[in-house]
Subunit: 342 residues, 4 copies
């Protein structure tokens, strides 16, 4: 934290701020400038909320300096974390030089729908299948997912097609079940700061895919992951899925600049979901290529065998045949970065 | 939903879109314009996701027209809902010509802190006390609240000072307890789209205070309330607490224009939280006045007897003596609108 | 500027950064913390772009500390600037305890329209008339204003109704003319960073009303004003008119928190334009009250005698009779703040 | 425009709205739904501002349907526009299957700086040189560019290195000079809605590079281009350079989803500026690759031979040697899309 004094601040005011800092067991470092004095603070372990210094006489502003995350930070672990997800068809790796792929429908609707889509996903060379059994929907009158019946269908997909399963948990109850059925537990964007759920995910035995909240800053995103790691689960993948801005030409604004930003700060792998990120089918392929080109560690693609009959998010789902083309182009682009798609 | 065709769309394409609409059991209303044709759709009860029509040949865009909310809408109930919260010191009313006040610390820290603050709150003429026993914090290393011990302190505040209690529930488990101890159950901004929690709140026997999510649109905000009402709990108050924008001069951008916007669409009362809304102590008084002036049905003010020692959000808390001044000015402004503060 | 080093930064890296700073004629103040070192910099007069230090080995981030504005800052002038605008009906004051009012149509359309509206404006007790002769419009096919003919109509309004005139200049050519005809020269939101125009405004002999850009931060807004002052024109009023956010329930998000933020940093008066700020007629009155309540130094209100026939922005214009009601309520609210409306 | 009536709207209210529409010479198409009636409007040529219908009794909302742009639209010209910029080293093409490259410093500082950088730019295979002689800077105390002296240096670069020149005009006066010296005239983000300048650009004899404003919607961006085309200059390239959002991990949020969105609506080529778009040197390469992968028609890259001594934007400039690597990777990625870099 850096405390910036007003230019008119008096010597006694500056001294009082320093004394207040020292009284909290911290160290004050005054830096006298031509116009004003700033006071650096060291020794804060993160538990103290120093913003209150802003209300002391003569202070104009407090600027946070230290980043609050620890376990997710490259300060603690310099090399990339590589996540290895075992599936019946072999391991899928995310991170390092590995780009992992995930495909499947937004929601699990019927066994037939999942089987048809799974066949296409497998044929495209993708080994991880996504599909929601619990669906967070804006409206209480929209389809809310099949619940455990949906998880059972996913288990059949796993058995018959040899695909690993990623599916979302929306509360502690569903997380218990998802942990049992799935290979990777997804925490959705709307729950990125559902800290109760994050703590439960931190005690899960399965890897976590954590999506960025709709208006989460980089720090908040990494702190949400820190919740999971701090409870003992170090197998966390992040996922950018678009943020909310004034722009109205796509459902969300896919923020690909966060990929290099995460990689500078954290060792965790980060994926991109161009389906939710754009909300429009014709943007999924170009933005998938862009995600691979920017250096994302994986892609999460919505696929449906009959998108215009989907019960949710049909307008952003592509066909299994389009997935195959996408995988092919992504593979070529990853090669430019000397990375391998799996 | 309005389907807009490309200017180059052919007659057969237009016909195909109309047939697709009719095949869904809906009615298509083509509107031929000079440059292009648009097709209105009627008959959708809200269950169908019509965005997928956007991928039919010749379609350039689908524009949603109907609002998805029902029970929260003025279409269903034209007159203002007035919420009456009973407290040992008398009822507090929100809505109609009534402006209700709530004061108290961000977090319940100790009995002494709550008692000292409660005394000031009561002295300022406020009958509802707020304080968090369960605290959603960005960092897992920050103070997370006292849990049930905090609720017991709030029960003491209720008993000794005759104040009604508003406190936050963060998951189904804490909601069970909060329902037992509190007069109003708060759902925080980060949980505005925690639909599992909203459904549980809809089955609670106590009124709900629902805060707007950090990047929630008006429709999403009202749909979150719709979740609660759709489960049978009609006692819901909304609360604007600032949204996330590019602006960096305050913690959030308090969006007071949503007050008249909500009042146009919905019969539910809406409060303003200028403490979280601005994040800075010196902005709480001016924005409280502004909230009263714009027509808010209540105010939620953070008060702490020693803000610079608060365990959370001290920089946005005011002193009990400042609360008294605030109440006085708000009362005068409410009078200009022919409203009463209670 | 504060340079934050990586936790793994070596002693030689830290030393190299300090040496680089000193080589620029500045002073480096290293602050060694438990995890990492930060380096404060003093002596920068604002001409040096220190962000480049971020690319030195071992540096993770550069955090700006000093504010770049000088003449607009309270550091240079502690007391409020009060602007006195002379009109044939007497002076209008903005700032200090004075709240100034301005009313009139978005665009000057005809003499009859201006005269009818001016009569209502005058009757409502408002002494300053606004109306655009040069209209910045999103579409080249929309009405672009009457140009000098419009200015001549405004001169007639001045003569016949005794009202002072505020009107917008959109380039150097129009500014020459506006300077001749108007009492206050308006620089619109879209031109807030048209630095060429700002410099010309800084050499004008008339006061400037500078509107906030649609996505301008507080610092950018004050720096735009600094351009005007730095050329010698100290008579500047700021004006908040809504910013662009994700929120879709109003045309813009009126950011009233900037009023206390500006007042903390700068001595300049700041007005609010609730007409552009909300874009909807039914929100103008409530947000005008809110602006007065938050402490704005003036209001800019769009008034039209027949809003639904206006050539631009009719949907946010109110009737002259509604203006009278607005002035009355604003006056009552200003009184709560011990301020006078004029 | 679609006018949505309240559910409680009466038959006479609906009739009155239809009559008002017909009285404007337009056609009303009422669409009676189960809950409410909507009224489609056809026949508007764009000159009428129909938002005012929102204030008629019984109306709840007006939804715009038609897009206001004409000449920039694919409705008018279906095939891609390909811009051919002649340089002494041969033509550079933008659009269709051609990806054009531009490199050079943010600001023209000295002949030596430009020559050294130009040599590197040329060596990397880039034929267009950028560099600002007129610099729009947030602070009046920052380096404002060399003006015509800068243009003369650029002319020397053209002569000695055979590179075409792109440079920015900031007002009508500088545009006259830029038109004389440059091969392409740039209009910067801050001037995207400086309509006076856009009209002048529309009368220029040289192609225009139009950057997206910091908070411009797709429609506003295309309408700004429409201003230029409507004055007769059809040689316009668009350029995405990042928008302003809450995200604080990069200077701006580069919005790559606008590339496919522009291509769906307009025939004009669109470039990407990843230097301003991210503001950080380490993000320029990954985002350049992403821009090529998403389908951008060109790249604008800031290059400086000694970035940490640059007078502006050094922290986002890359070295000439890094440019060569960037060009190489972009070329490989363009090949995946069957496009050619030139």
């Amino acid at each position: 934290m850096l405390v910036v004094m007003q230019s008119h601040a008096t010597e006694p005011q500056i001294r009082a701020v320093c004394e207040r800092i020292e009284s909290l067991g911290l160290k004050a470092h005054p830096i006298p400038g031509a116009l004003r004095t700033a006071i650096g603070i060291t020794g804060n372990k993160g538990a103290l909320d120093l913003g209150v210094l802003e209300s002391l006489p003569g202070v104009i502003e407090c600027i946070p300096v230290s980043k609050p995350y620890k376990l997710v930070s490259r300060d603690v672990k310099e090399e990339d974390t590589i996540l290895r997800i075992p599936t019946p068809s072999g391991d899928v790796l995310f991170g390092g030089k590995h780009v992992g792929l995930v495909g499947g429908p937004c929601a699990v609707e019927t066994e037939e729908q999942c089987f048809t889509t799974a066949e296409g996903v497998k044929k495209a060379g993708v080994k991880l299948f996504r599909g929601g059994a619990y669906k967070p929907r804006t409206s209480p009158y929209s389809f809310q997912g099949l619940g455990e019946d949906g998880l059972k269908i996913l288990a059949q997909v796993r058995k018959h097609y040899g695909l690993g399963i990623i599916t979302e948990a929306i509360d502690n109850e569903s997380l218990d079940l998802v942990e049992e059925y799935a290979d990777v537990i997804q925490i959705g964007a709307r729950n990125m700061q559902n800290f109760s759920l994050l703590k439960r995910a931190g005690r899960a035995k399965k890897p976590i895919l954590l999506k960025r909240g709709m208006s989460a800053t980089l720090d908040e995103f990494l702190m949400a992951a820190e919740y999971v790691l701090s409870e003992g689960n170090y197998n966390v993948m992040l996922c950018e899925r678009g943020v909310r801005t004034f722009a109205d030409h796509s459902r969300n604004t896919l923020d690909l600049t966060i990929i290099p930003a995460v990689k500078k700060r954290s060792h965790l792998p980060i994926l991109v979901d161009p389906s939710h990120g754009t909300g429009k089918r014709h943007k999924v392929l170009p933005l998938s290529r862009a995600a691979a080109a920017v250096g994302a560690d994986g892609l999460l693609i919505e696929v449906h065998h009959a998108p215009d009959q989907a019960l949710s998010d049909g307008m952003q789902s592509i066909l299994p045949t389009e997935l195959a083309e996408l995988v092919d182009e992504v593979r070529q682009i990853a090669a430019v970065l000397h990375r391998e798609v799996n």
